[in-house]
Structure formats: C-alpha cells, structure tokens
Symmetry: C2
Subunit: 141 residues, 2 copies
Amino acid sequence: MTHIQSNDPLAELPGYVLRRAANAMMGELGARLAAIDLKISDASVLLLIAGRSDMTSSEIGKVLDIQRANMVPLLNRLEAAGLIARQPLDRKSQAIVLTPAGQTRLGEVQAITHAFEADLLARIPDADRPHFMPALKALIG
Amino acid sequence: MTHIQSNDPLAELPGYVLRRAANAMMGELGARLAAIDLKISDASVLLLIAGRSDMTSSEIGKVLDIQRANMVPLLNRLEAAGLIARQPLDRKSQAIVLTPAGQTRLGEVQAITHAFEADLLARIPDADRPHFMPALKALIG
DNA sequence: CAATTTTGCTATAGTCAATAGCGATCCGGA
DNA sequence: TCCGGATCGCTATTGACTATAGCAAAATTG
C-alpha cells in the first residue's frame, strides 16, 4: 500500500508524486491482468493490434516504445500462449495478428482495462478529472 | 523520444498515458541527476534526510516505498561516495545523516530538482496546472 | 545496380524490485 | 523480570524489464 507520509518533504514535488502515482496504478493494473495470465505489455500489444492485420513487430515496438530486441520474447510468449500468429507480409516482414483465442482474450483485456480506467478516474476529484489527460499528454513527446 | 502516435488506440487510456508520462519525466530527471553522479533514488534519500539526524534506514524505506533489503545497496553506495554516514542510535538502529560532502551534494540536488519541477510544470497548460497535483495525490494511498 | 536502411533475431549485460531468511536487539505484557 | 513477538540491518537470490551490440537477409533508395 503506497501512502505518502505527512512528514515527507517530497510529497509536494510533482515529478516525485507522478512517479508514485504511476507505480501505484501500474501495480494495480498488473495485479488485475495477472488474473488472465497477462503482463501489462502483453495486454498493450493485444489492444494495439485489435482489428488489424498489418502491423509488424517493429511497428508495434515503435508505437509502444519497446525496442525491437525486446519485442521478440514478448511476441514469442504471446505466440506460445496461442494468442497471436505471425503472418508473412513479404520475405522480410511479418504481420502480427490475433488468433481466435487471442480475440477471446482481448475481450477479457478490454473488460479489465475498461473497469480499471473507470476506477482510476473515479478516484480523481470531479473538479480535477477533466484536466488529468490534457496535463499528462502535455508531458509526453 | 517518446511520442504517442495518432493511430495509437491506447493514447486515450488514462493509465497508459500516466505510465508514459511518468517514464518520460523520470528519464529526463535521471539524465539531469546523472550529471552529478546520482540516481533518482539516491537524490530522494538526500532530500529526505536533509536537516535531520534521526531517520533510520527502515524509516527512509517506509517513506520512499523502498524495501529494507533494497535500502542496503542504496545506502552503501551513498556511504561509499562519502555523502552519508551511519550513526548508531542504540545497539540495533542507526541514523542516516548527511556528511559535509553530502550537504554540498544536496545543494546541487536541490538546484537540479527545483529546475526540473519548474520545467515539468511549465509544460502543462495553465488551465490544467492547478489540477495536476490534486489529481495525482488522489491516486496514491 | 550499388549503397543504405530496415527487419527480425541472438546474445548479453545492467538495472531494479521482490522474496525469503538470519542473527541480534528492542519492546510490551504477564 | 522474563518471555514472546516485533523490529532492525543485512545476505542471498530471483525475476522482470530494459539497454546495447551485432548479424544475415531482404527491402528500399538514389
């Protein structure tokens, strides 16, 4: 349980609080996704390639900010679990697509993700909620 | 360079954006602190024990959310760098205090941290800025 | 067609956090 | 006072995750 103490002089530093909030939320999401045997990065891939059949490993990595080399064990794991398949696009590239089992699992991911995002937003006071996403987006890129 | 793509369906998920924002900001802070040979957790400890001489390793860990076991190499590193010292409180506990060199380094940490926090907040649109800390704090604990 | 870039991958190393366990010490209640 | 539980600092190990370098093959570009 993460709990900032009142005597913590770092509790007023935005960067520090940002890190703590992200850690707390990702811990929570990870715990929920563990119920369907997926890691956060696994779920991200499933959500990303949903309804598409043209995304290569490198493209997924670019979007999700995961390096080419680190995509390999990730996709191997998803393939071994029967959730994705590799479809040759040409002699060099291959598309990553959902298998039927992957489609099913994607449904569970969407349910968990949707509930999680709703719970996350619900914790934010009404007055602050509309400003949450714009503020975070301004910090990226 | 982190850069959410327009075709990224995850870009509207608060949890995902929160993680990306925290990663981007911590990467930036880590790079700035590397200039004075400190990691983020090192700097956090220095900021926390500033002006105090009664905090034990376990207490620091509780406040910063670092486990006892993981405090050891962290404090060893700071001690080897001559920035902190261990002062016995009784035969079991010891206070972690700044050395004179640690005081000096703390000044640099404060300068870097202050500039970083200012730059971070400056990136957030005026209208959203007052809502940033309250929203994040609501997610912790 | 030559040069460069891209793709998917191997192999490796480093960082970081989590777990379990240990001896010593401290503290609170009977 | 003494016993039992809690706490302290630490060791050792493990697992996740990330970063780097390099490679062969194929695609792309000029």
